[in-house]
């Protein structure tokens, strides 16, 4: 159990880090700095999660932060590979180099009206009925009542 001022302190720090990351990802144009800003937002969320986890005496927030770390590592690996490929193509780390969806030597295509359909109503797949409803765990319901 932590005192309430420590909780709100940590929430403020998390909010500040999140907003700084938001401003960074909105304004910066370098792909790598944009990723750093996204990681800054993740850090802010992690601080918030841990603070609430400590305040409520529940491990869920800290477990969630462990998974945030995992996903951040995966994201950074895949994203940096893509950034390297993008840099190999354009020679720049500028996000604006990838803002057009066509090649430079192709004409622009602008759809002025919706393309006409073939007049046949689409058939959508239907989900089969699921199994029986699982029984609730008594030890878990004890904890959820207090949240």
């Amino acid at each position: 159990m932590i005192p309430a001022t420590l909780l709100t302190n940590a929430l403020l720090v998390g909010a500040i880090l999140f907003c700084l990351g938001l401003v960074g990802i909105l304004t910066r144009r370098n792909l790598i700095v944009m990723f750093l800003s996204a990681e800054l937002m993740l850090q802010g969320v992690s601080v918030t999660l841990v603070a609430w986890s400590r305040y409520h005496g529940d491990w869920g927030g800290q477990v969630l932060v462990v998974f945030v770390l995992t996903v951040a590592a995966c994201e950074a690996a895949v994203a940096l590979v893509l950034v390297l490929q993008a840099f190999a193509r354009t020679g720049r780390l500028d996000a604006a180099a990838w803002q057009s969806l066509r090649e430079d030597n192709l004409p622009r295509v602008i759809d002025r009206e919706l393309p006409a359909g073939d007049g046949v109503a689409p058939t959508w797949p239907r989900l089969s009925p699921a199994g029986i409803r699982p029984e609730s765990d008594a030890s878990q319901s004890l904890e959820r009542d207090h949240l």
Partner: protein, 266 residues
């Protein structure tokens, strides 16, 4: 609960508005623009300090900010380095500042009592992810400072949006601390319920409340919770890591493979 926090709403509102304006102008002055001068950046640094002090004062008048010196120190390190991360021109320096932010965040987590996460943040983020960022920067950085590092997109709008969002979040956190006595009344009953459960049910002993009497076994209890109730999620995370590994290698080696195929065909 401090009774002042509920009565002094009006002056803290003025203070908050002032802090939001100061933060927005500071971010606008500090973000890379084509019209930057040394003087404007100095004014930006000054305004940023004023804004952060203003937010701390607002939090104090709303009853949010305590007096824990260690916490305030590490939080200041995290926040100032975070600001430097997004405003510095060179991406390499941005990465280094981000490492400082991680050190501050790790300190915050340690003060909050999350020992494992504090250490894991340093090891995983600063040790692995950040080094990966630096490697990519070394591989991909063109010589000299690029134009896209010196001019940013819509700094005024983004700075205003971020500052306003932070002001709203600060207000809601202040409301939270004003409504906090109710939560305080509820917490002991919950702790009692958990304590009763831990003595009665051997399964829930592993998932005891953090910060209870047994602070020493903190990491062991987090591990028990992680590999007990969240075991399936751990398996999924392992699969995710494997997929990211295979995907990264596949994307990198695809270009080389096609070149080799091309040579073979020729």
């Amino acid at each position: 609960m401090d009774p002042i926090s509920t009565t002094s709403v009006a002056p803290s509102g003025m203070l908050l508005a002032g802090s939001v304006v100061a933060l927005a102008s500071s971010l606008w002055l500090l973000l890379p623009k084509s019209s930057d001068t040394v003087t404007s950046r100095r004014i930006g640094v000054l305004l940023g300090g004023v804004a952060l002090a203003g937010f701390a004062a607002t939090g104090r008048s709303l009853g949010c900010v305590g007096e824990d010196g260690v916490f305030l120190t590490v939080a200041a390190v995290a926040v100032v380095s975070g600001l430097a991360t997004i405003v510095t021109r060179s991406p390499v320096y941005a990465a280094i500042w981000f490492a400082m932010t991680l050190a501050g965040v790790s300190g915050v987590l340690l003060v909050l009592g999350a020992q494992f996460l504090g250490v894991a943040t340093i090891v995983v983020y600063a040790g692995a992810i950040l080094v990966m960022f630096l490697f990519v920067l070394m591989l991909a950085q063109p010589s000299g400072m690029a134009s896209y590092d010196r001019v940013s997109n819509e700094p005024m709008l983004a700075a205003a949006a971020g500052a306003v969002l932070l002001g709203l979040l600060t207000l809601s956190i202040g409301r939270l601390s004003a409504a906090e006595p109710a939560a305080c009344c509820r917490m002991p009953s919950r702790a009692d319920a958990l304590a009763g459960a831990t003595t009665a049910d051997p399964i829930t002993i592993e998932a005891g409340a953090p910060g209870g009497a047994d602070e020493v076994n903190e990491v062991a209890r987090l591990g028990a919770e992680l590999f007990g109730r969240h075991l399936f999620a751990v398996e999924v995370a392992g699969v995710l890591l494997l997929v990211a590994l295979v995907g990264g290698i596949a994307v990198v080696s695809r270009g080389e493979a096609t070149e080799a195929d091309h040579r073979r065909e020729v």
